[in-house]
């Protein structure tokens, strides 16, 4: 290697450069915004995830409106009630398609070829979303909120979290619902999407002549995950 092409010592110790090179190597823009995909990605199963994300976007948009006008607004305003209904149904759609997406990916065994972390993060998104929605239900300031809170406190107290997660405390539940959980869910969804885009869509199960696929931890060299191809 000539003197001119050798990497300077300062560059090798540069964190910013290292991060940029990692992103260029693992998540180039062509992977982040692809315009080509394998021809077998032609099933409705692949729609479930994007519909769930679209529903999440509407949950956030309608939620921002509800937050802007305050927690009382939708109880006394027809427009507010409609916005709340949009929020409500977006949540229902989000869960329906997230569950369909989960089952679709399960039966596709989509954790293969180094994609197990993608599956794990997806399940965490599902679990966190349930808690996020639960905080919304107990922060509604109506009879549902009262009854759910009065009953759910027993489960929270029984496992010892009631002391710092008091479902009867509207202020705490509302704060968590409009700030902490949206950030948590959105962040994890972004991580999940980046994981999907980094590795691409998994190949179909057991192509003819292939060895049965095994789940495995991600490998440092994604090239090593090549299996027989059609």
């Amino acid at each position: 290697m000539s003197e001119s092409t050798r990497e300077p010592v300062a560059d090798r110790a540069n964190w910013t450069l290292a991060l940029r090179r990692f992103l260029e190597r693992r998540l180039p823009i062509v992977h982040l915004l692809p315009d080509r995909q394998p021809y077998y990605v032609g099933s409705w199963v692949y729609i479930f995830g994007v519909v769930a994300i679209a529903a999440l976007a509407w949950i956030v948009a309608t939620g921002v409106l509800l937050v802007f006008f305050g927690p009382q607004w939708w109880h006394v305003s027809n427009i507010g009630h409609f916005v709340n209904a949009l929020h409500f149904w977006a949540v229902q759609i989000f869960f329906v398609f997230m569950v369909l997406h989960l089952w679709g990916q399960y039966f596709a065994a989509s954790w293969r070829d180094g994609r197990a972390p993608t599956w794990v993060v997806g399940v965490i998104v599902f679990a966190i979303s349930i808690v996020a929605t639960f905080t919304g239900y107990v922060a509604q300031q109506n009879f549902d909120a009262q009854w759910i809170a009065v009953n759910a406190k027993d489960a929270m107290n029984a496992v010892g979290v009631g002391a710092f997660f008091n479902v009867l405390n509207f202020g705490q539940m509302y704060g968590l619902h409009i700030l902490f959980f949206p950030i948590a869910v959105a962040t994890l969804v972004v991580v999940h999407l980046v994981q999907v885009r980094m590795r691409g869509v998994v190949k179909p199960i057991d192509p003819p002549g292939a060895e049965p696929p095994q789940a495995e931890l991600p490998r440092s060299d994604p090239h090593a995950s090549q299996g027989p191809v059609a």
Binding site: E24, Q37, S43, V50, W58, Y137, I205
Partner: protein
């Protein structure tokens, strides 16, 4: 750049790639969901049953209110005997053998139901009311045995109570100052004053409804309303919601255990069921690493449907 794009290019080597517009797909999904939720919201609306207040409870069912308030004063209510995080009632916490998570954080929200739900609100309302002041003095000046005897007699008499002009009347008996205390508390409650007094914390703003919710939860009125709305534990509980709306259907795996023996009668059902659901969720997250669970997709030919085009072509 070649070293980067090859990551997927090599994975997909030999597989035909077809045009794909990720952004268009996302925009179409956004529009499609917008139309769907707009139609659902316009046609079906969303549930919003008004909350119960102590005022509405005491007006709709004064006997239940007074019975509950008497239990709070006697230390016999569900909250009074709950254990952590509200008080230290012995053996009240849910346990799994020697493991008692409910005790771990201690009494983080101390609640003395007699003082906070009954006596303190009455003391605040007693200003300028000599009858109530005298009744409070009599009650507070009596020993515990007398207090308990008055409350026991009064609670039994409430079984035959009648309501006239919003006041609860019981048969004559030796109840000490208890009828005066309860009559005053009922009057305050019916006016809506007790809702405010139970939130009183010495500061102007507050957002913590723990005390009024626990008080109302101790009575039967709220649970009767919930039963009418198919919301009680044996009706799949908090998974449902008022009206004919879908509710939190995603909680089915949690709610189902409460319908099944031995959990539906177990004193530690909440603890056991939460642990079961946590274990199942962990299993789901770890499916890629668990033999059999990770192999099922290969045995069940759903993937043949997902990738019909692929399997036809090969």
């Amino acid at each position: 750049m070649t070293g980067t794009t090859d990551t997927q290019a090599r994975y997909y080597a030999g597989i035909r790639m077809v045009p794909f517009d990720l952004l268009k797909e996302l925009v179409l999904a956004l529009l499609g969901v917008a139309v769907l939720i707009a139609v659902l919201a316009a046609v079906l609306s969303a549930p919003d049953v008004p909350p119960v207040t102590i005022g509405s409870w005491s007006q709709a069912d004064p006997v239940d209110f007074v019975t509950t308030a008497s239990a709070e004063l006697a230390g016999q209510s569900g909250t009074a005997q709950y254990g952590p995080p509200y008080n230290s009632t012995p053996d009240a916490a849910q346990a799994l053998g020697p493991i008692v998570p409910q005790d771990w954080a201690g009494i983080s929200t101390p609640i003395d139901t007699a003082k906070e739900f009954v006596l303190h609100p009455l003391e605040l309302a007693a200003t300028g009311n000599p009858t109530l002041t005298s009744a409070l003095d009599t009650y507070n000046g009596a020993d515990a045995t007398h207090q308990q005897a008055w409350l026991d007699s009064y609670t039994k008499a409430l079984d035959g109570a009648t309501v006239e002009n919003g006041q609860v009347t019981v048969a004559a008996g030796d109840y000490g100052p208890v009828p005066t205390l309860m009559g005053s508390l009922l009057g305050i409650a019916r006016s809506g004053g007790l809702d405010a007094l139970l939130l009183e914390n010495g500061r102007f703003f507050q957002t913590d409804f723990t005390r009024p919710l626990l008080f109302m939860g101790d009575g039967n009125y709220m649970s009767n309303l919930a039963a009418d709305q198919h919301l009680t534990g044996d009706q799949w509980g908090v998974m449902n919601e008022t009206g004919s709306y879908p509710g939190q259907t995603w909680l089915w795996l949690y709610s189902v255990w409460y319908q099944l023996p031995p959990f539906n009668t177990a004193p530690n059902a909440d603890l056991v069921i939460v642990l079961i659901v946590l274990a199942l969720t962990t299993l789901l997250a770890l499916v890629p690493f668990i033999p059999i669970l990770r192999d099922i997709p290969r045995w069940v030919p759903v993937h043949k449907l997902i990738w019909r085009r692929y399997y036809r072509s090969v």
